[in-house]
Symmetry: C2
Subunit: 305 residues, 2 copies
């Protein structure tokens, strides 16, 4: 059975402090610490491309476990900010890492629901094709498209990447997933002419309405009660949305980590970044849930092997 063996992550060292922008945006410490929950956002270097963030995450993976590049049979990159629209960034990553020519490579275009979706998509693809070692990258540097004058986005989004090693020697395996889309709301979170636009209130209301029900549905589909789940790794859109979802479900705070205060919302990388810390932990069952661009969402349940 395929599952998650190890995770590598990368957060660029560059930071912009939201405390330095209080006057510019008319915000206070309460807004920074309790509402958005982002003190600083991470920013990649001007020369760092999306594929470079992937390579850095892979270097972290190599520090954590032995990865024989010759054994990698598939690569996927989840991004909506690729190096180029053509070719797919996964091909560039395959070339930069020097992976074998028989390695399958494709990109998935999804935003904050991307990791959960891609975990299902990529594992299914690998299993069906008899592949046993693959790399699932998430890298979506929003600094490419965020307007630094736009309070709705510049205070929230940080650059980061993660790579999840999917293999036949997993530490966590996935159960059943749930997915959803409300495409007629897609203009609430959109990139037009190279600039990101987000109706923060609309996206918040969407997630606050849809996600609690979806997590209940996902738990039922996996034959567990919400109370039996040890950890909930909810997309770190902002502190207030994570708190709101936890509160609506009556979940104790210690089960629902929020830890992106020092780097911000890294889009599809928020969940694997949190999950890296859980790999060596004690939680037996871990819910994962992403939501955002589309608007779309996906939830799943991981169990420790």
């Amino acid at each position: 059975m395929l599952g998650i063996e190890e995770i590598g992550t990368y957060l660029p060292v560059g930071r912009i402090s939201n405390y330095d922008r209080k006057a510019q945006f008319g915000i206070d410490d309460f807004f920074i610490e309790e509402k958005i929950g982002v003190r600083r956002v991470s920013v990649k270097g001007p020369e760092e491309e999306t594929s470079d963030l992937c390579i850095r995450a892979f270097e972290d993976l190599q520090r954590r476990t032995s990865v024989n590049k010759e054994e990698i049979e598939a690569v996927v990159v989840v991004t909506q900010n690729p190096d180029y629209n053509i070719p797919h960034t996964s091909a560039i990553v395959q070339g930069k890492l020097g992976l074998p020519a028989h390695c399958a490579a494709f990109d998935i275009s999804l935003g904050c629901s991307g990791f959960v979706y891609a975990l299902s998509i990529f594992q299914s693809f690998m299993a069906d094709n008899g592949l046993t070692r693959g790399l699932l990258f998430t890298a979506d540097p929003y600094s490419k498209i965020v307007d630094p004058e736009d309070k709705n986005t510049t205070l929230l989004f940080g650059d980061g990447a993660a790579v999840t090693l999917i293999s036949s020697a997993p530490r966590l395996v996935a159960g059943r997933f749930t997915f959803g889309t409300v495409g007629n709301e897609h203009e609430k979170l959109i990139c037009k002419d190279g600039t990101l636009f987000m109706n923060g209130r609309a996206v918040f209301n969407f997630a606050a309405k849809v996600i609690p029900d979806d997590l209940r549905r996902m738990a039922a589909k996996n034959g567990v009660n919400l109370e039996e789940i040890d950890r909930f790794l909810i997309h770190q859109g902002s502190k207030i949305i994570v708190d709101t979802i936890a509160s609506k479900l009556g979940l104790p705070a210690e089960k629902v980590p929020y830890s992106t205060g020092d780097y911000g919302n890294t889009v599809s990388s928020t969940i694997p970044i949190l999950l890296q810390d859980e790999l060596g932990g004690t939680a037996r069952t871990i819910a994962i849930c992403g939501f955002g661009v589309g608007l779309s969402w996906a939830s799943g349940l991981l169990r420790r092997v």
Copy 2:
């Protein structure tokens, strides 16, 4: 078992004739008819977006079979020319078609190898998640990025789209696939600053070298000899590349259709457009093979149910 039940296609009515451009590019009838094999390229209307091409393909699907939108559980769009980079075009299509909210939707970023890849990816995803009716769209309008002064691209690429209904009542089912990537060659076919660049000779040499071997490998993986395969639907990159691959494998011309002379290379849609004609045909086994952007390739074998 999931497989291909029906296919809808769309070719815009707009055409640019290559005969009208003989003086401009210093080409003759032999070049048009025998080398590239493209007499006219199809061009979408200026207001038609990628998602609109998908909707038109869906309308053709509806004319061919009864599709209850309420039963569609998943949508994928294969494109590298989306409506926007954010959100994914599949979400826009889901919204425009009014598909259910529990419908999974994601985009795959791949070029000319995209249909074969996506068939494997999407079927595996659907099967693993217990889904029985999904729509696989291919729509990659290169008119958005082709420089009309660039002989290497403007004479070749045409706009088009296809939608493949994947269901549990298939007429064709897929066997084993093969995939490959040579990412360090990615600059041979790339879109920089909104303009497509192609080193036609390099892409031709790549395909002429890699694809015959890959088709042999794919046949072996499916336990058949090449001679036993009734039809080879090879990505319609140009007439000369299809002829060259057929010749290298010693395939009779009637097994290897080339039929894009009136609309051009529609990228990931070339194979489903050919396949639509085969659905009601007599071929029992059909090889499909895509190659290009990445550089990458994918091959598979379809069997009639």
